[in-house]
Symmetry: C3
Subunit: 214 residues, 3 copies
């Protein structure tokens, strides 16, 4: 693997790591994990076989990515985020539960879309999709899908605002907003009753240049 | 120790580990820890002297089990669960608090009973008992005892339902329920005003074949 | 460095560690970190260049201290506490956010004052000050400054009581309290409407011998 930095105290068994990616101490990347280019995977992480990570992703320290977790390009995973892949876990070695673990039907996936950020200590229940460029607040408990560009906080996490691709919070005037930092423009999707209700739609806000109106 | 797998990057100082148990990378098991047979202890864990673990237990990654923590057989500890053993901690090196740490009176135990599951990122305050086959939701903060078979969520954690030994949530019709998966039958204990109030009793639900009526 | 204990499985690159300090397995202390005397840094920790720690501090396992975090003398950091140093994080490798990470203006500091305790699994948003001898409850989410001697719990964390330097909760009679353990005396600051409102002042309670009346 060209130009991949692996700290001497890391364990990396995957052969599929893109150029420019760095993997730090006390982190274990199992075989079969696919990591894109120019990523940074911090210390004390565990990436299980089956994980897929795009380019330009940052995984801070203390993260365990289980089989079923996919991180699209440009995602940020803050420190000590917790993913899951089982919605009602039991010890597979408990006789009363063992039959459920005879195959992989119990496994439930998680998808984090392009450019999204998961704040420090957030917890993501399996089976949910984090929208593109969404920002999950520190300590939030994600129990349902998060719309694109949404800022969600709390336990369970709810939409409390919207953020730009660059990360800054958006201030809407009517149905439109221009980022105060990078000037990217956004429109609220038609049919949206209000921001407080936006969590019920798949995407409440779109980049104006895309006009995706999902 | 027969048939114990210890990853070459683990530190295992205990001599009391049951057959078939596996201990993974970057995990430290101190001397004096007792672990049963057929357990799986994930990566980045720390098991302190004084910890006792039964057979068939699963400890996922990123768990620290402190002196005073006991896990009965078949328990599941999800990723990044946090245990405690001090109810009002100070640095023992702080002069104003040092006298309290001259002996072990400050130490407060935690017991997780048979077959219970602690969800990802849950926090358990010391001095509490998690009931048999209970399911503590992801991110829940356990501040009081959890009844047998209870599903608890939130911070502080409260009873929001009941689960079978196999893990599936129970649907009561009147005072009885049969698991939709494994058909195990349950009865609500007499004297129970309602499920919403069940957190005030030591055990709100019993396996019908046991009829324990604690 | 005299009388410093470094576990053979730790990585310690700093040359500035005080006497009597101990650093345990699978912990990484980067160069430039300053740690005082008689500290204890547990396992699976990461201390980034720029961190400053006073004397007599206890850092339990699973803690990551980022550039910008300062712990004054006698602080206790419980297990799996999460610090942050970026208020609206994006992957620095995401093109739309990269310009913000060209310098260190994004970095936001955190100060934990003398003798304070951060409970297990607490999360501290960057830019806040934890007051001297404050006690942050397990799992609390600190989103604003915490007054000296305050007990805060919840997400977001709010003042629910006051604690002595030794850690015991104070019971006020009128505007004064004497610790039931160590007998240290405290006064409420003038101008305080009530304890429920105390979180709006920088320090609601003072050690009576100091009478600081901040």
């Amino acid at each position: 693997m060209d130009n991949v930095y692996i700290h001497p105290k890391a364990i990396v068994e995957s052969k599929s790591i893109g150029k420019g990616t760095r993997i730090w101490a006390f982190t274990h990347v199992m075989k079969g994990v696919a990591i894109g280019a120019h990523c940074n995977v911090g210390e004390h992480c565990f990436l299980e076989t089956g994980v897929v990570i795009g380019d330009n992703v940052t995984v801070k320290n203390g993260n365990e990515l289980w089989d079923g977790v996919t991180l699209a390009e440009g995602v940020f995973v803050g420190p000590n985020v917790t993913f899951t892949n089982d919605l009602y876990p039991r010890s597979p070695r408990l006789p009363q539960a063992a039959s459920r673990y005879n195959n992989l039907q119990w496994r439930c996936p998680t998808l984090v879309n392009e450019g999204a950020s998961l704040g420090a200590g957030a917890i993501v229940l399996a089976g949910n999709v984090i929208g593109a460029f969404a920002l999950v607040g520190a300590g939030a408990l994600v129990t349902r899908d998060v719309p694109d560009y949404a800022l969600v906080t709390g336990a369970p996490a709810r939409v409390v605002g919207w953020v730009c691709q660059c990360g800054l919070q958006l201030r809407f005037e009517g149905a439109t907003a221009a980022c105060e930092g990078c000037r990217m423009e956004f429109v609220q999707n038609p049919g949206l009753v209000g921001l407080n209700h936006a969590q019920t739609v798949s995407a409440g806000v779109s980049n104006a240049s895309q006009r995706r109106f999902e």
